[in-house]
Amino acid sequence: MKFSWKILLCSLITMAAAFGIGGYFFVNDVFKASLEREIGQATDDSNILKFAFETAALNIPSKYDMLQNSVIKEIGANLENSGQGSRRFLRLSDEDQKVLYASEGFVEDTLLLSDIQEQTRAYQIIRPDRRYYVQTGIMVHALDRVLYLETMRDVTEVYAERARGFAVYRGLMLLILICSSVVMYIVSYWLTKPIRLLTQAARKMTAGDYSCRAEQISEDEMGRLTMDFNHMANVVEDNIHKLEEEVRAREDFIAAFSHELKTPLTAVIGYADMLRSRKLDEEKHFLSANYIYTEGKRLEAMSLRLLDIIVTRRYHLEPQDTEVESLFAYLEEIYAEKKEIRVVFQYEPGRIQVEANLLKSVLLNLTVNACKASEAGGMVEVFGRNEEDGYCFAVKDYGTGISPEECRKITEAFYMVDKSRSRSHNGAGLGLALCVEILKLHGSELVIESTPGVGSCFHFQIPGKGTDSRETKGET
């Protein structure tokens, strides 16, 4: 059953019960008051009749000491007819509860008489022939005789009124219920709208549309639920995007990897095939064998680099206290011979907690890249300086530069700025990927600032002694 129907049904049941019980008590209360009044009227009537009877008895000439039964009958008949406009019902009985006079149509049973006592009157509601009457009984003393005077008052109207009240009330209640059920249906439809919107959104998301969001139409708990749902959807969407990005990176890696494999493989297979199937002259024989060797070496270098990256990812770092000077001395030694590109070193002395061999490889990679990007006769600068919370290295060139979208991809394996993947500088496009992995181990990050045509600056900061994060990051 739908939630909106449940709300509707519950509210209707509650309303029906409330109206029903309330209505019953109200109508009944009105009825009781009317009945009370009628009973009061009936007792008043019987008082009046008693007084009239006693007066009539006194006025009878005292022929006898005792009131005769015939006289009583006569008085009874007189009393009955003396009512103004309305007929009185009365019955007179003697001491032995024997009926002396009764109006026509008076009930026959005399059970009420036994309840009548001196100074008390009795009454009861009786229902002969589908009509309601209040029957009263009272004791009358006249000329030494004790008589019973009974009256009957028609109260059918009161009962009929109650029945009418109930009928009107039932109709009214039905009308109210119908109206309120329409209103409640609209209200519950409105209340459950956020739920329906959420359901729709959830279904769409299940179908794969992760950009779908539920519309927030209220500020209450439902609104908050929608907000939380949308927030969750955002997180899920982000994660999906991240995963997709990762899958893309991985696919690119595989595509690049197979591409990088194919070129040297073509050469190796082709030359080997020539060697085995043809009689080549001395020169060509050497050339072919040499190509097989160099291309094989290229494959080897690539596989070693790949292995480096994979090993580095799982490497447990053991940092030593290292003099910055020793790192720069290593680079200076390598570039001392280099003539076509001037490499300038400028650094402040300092001590850092690193694995020197790994950091040397990072610096060398960055410097080699900077040289590759530079024209012959250009300049590459390598800086080192103490910062507040660590030691900062920077490698700056004035070469070709990298566009912003390439900056993001440049650290991916096999990525090369030159689209042709020209290997005139003999790289595999794995150097920066390795640098990033090594720096990650040291709790550092490679920052690339570059402008096409102006030059690039690669810099990173090794956290200093003050930071404890180094050790924990080293283990991850």
């Binding site: 197979s258 591409h259 194919k262 070129t263 040297p264 493989l265 073509t266 050469a267 297979i269 082709g270 030359y271 095939d273 020539m274 085995r276 199937s277 043809r278 009689k279 060509k284 050339l287 072919s288 190509y291 160099t294 291309e295 030159d418 689209k419 042709s420 993947r421 020209s422 290997r423 005139s424």
Partner: protein, 217 residues
């Protein structure tokens, strides 16, 4: 002499193709970047261009635009093997598409097919006194016609296209029978023997130990 231009950024690959096509009797030039390729195409006439797609300077698709009006047939050579690139290359008007790593024999065969399609090559193969007309499918020895079966003809053409080259049994079988070679199968040997007898090549068509056969002319 048929002029072929090889454009590939890898010197080893250029040299490999150059060596093989030169052996097959073509004249080759090779360049390693797109811009010098365009220069050369404008300056000189070529009968066929072998084009790599990823090139420094201008890529293969760019160069293709330059070649189009010249109506020089082009075979793309690339390491990219996805269908999208293949279709793009062929749509641009390339005659064929070769994916690295390729078989040298296959390269030579494809070059020949494309050249024949453009009637740039002689459709007559000769070896000594034997002549094969590739279009009329006619084989003659000293002017005398020789009747060959389909498979024998296939073998003959392969040998004559690769004179003085040792052809592997696997290669021969795969090219002619278009099926995987099963070691110890005598089918190939029987056909080669019959071909030898029919052509009178008992001395020329020699078996190469552990490799296959070589036509020595």
């Amino acid at each position: 002499m048929i002029q072929i231009l090889i454009v590939d950024d890898e010197k080893p690959i250029c040299d490999l193709i150059d060596m093989n096509l030169s052996e097959a009797g073509y004249h080759c030039r090779s360049v390693q970047d797109g811009l010098s390729a365009i220069d050369l195409i404008e300056k000189e006439n070529f009968d066929l261009i072998l084009l790599d797609i990823m090139l420094p300077g201008a890529d293969g698709f760019d160069i293709m635009e330059y070649i189009k009006p010249l109506k020089v047939p082009v075979i793309f050579i690339t390491a990219k093997s996805d269908v999208h690139d293949k279709v793009r290359g062929l749509k641009l008007g390339a005659e064929d598409y070769l994916v690295k790593p390729f078989d040298v024999l296959e390269l030579v065969a494809r070059v020949e097919v494309v050249l024949r399609r453009f009637h740039k090559t002689d459709h007559i193969l000769t070896a000594g006194d034997v002549m094969v007309d590739l279009e009329a499918l006619k084989v003659t020895k000293s002017g005398r016609p020789i009747v060959l079966t389909n498979k024998e003809y296939g073998l003959l053409v392969l040998f004559m296209q690769n004179k003085n080259v040792a052809l592997f049994k696997e290669t021969l079988y795969e090219k002619v029978w278009k099926d995987e070679y099963i070691a110890d199968s005598r089918t190939l040997e029987l056909h080669v023997q019959r071909l030898r007898r029919k052509m009178g090549w008992e001395k020329n068509l020699v078996a190469v130990y552990k490799v296959g056969y070589r036509l020595e002319i």
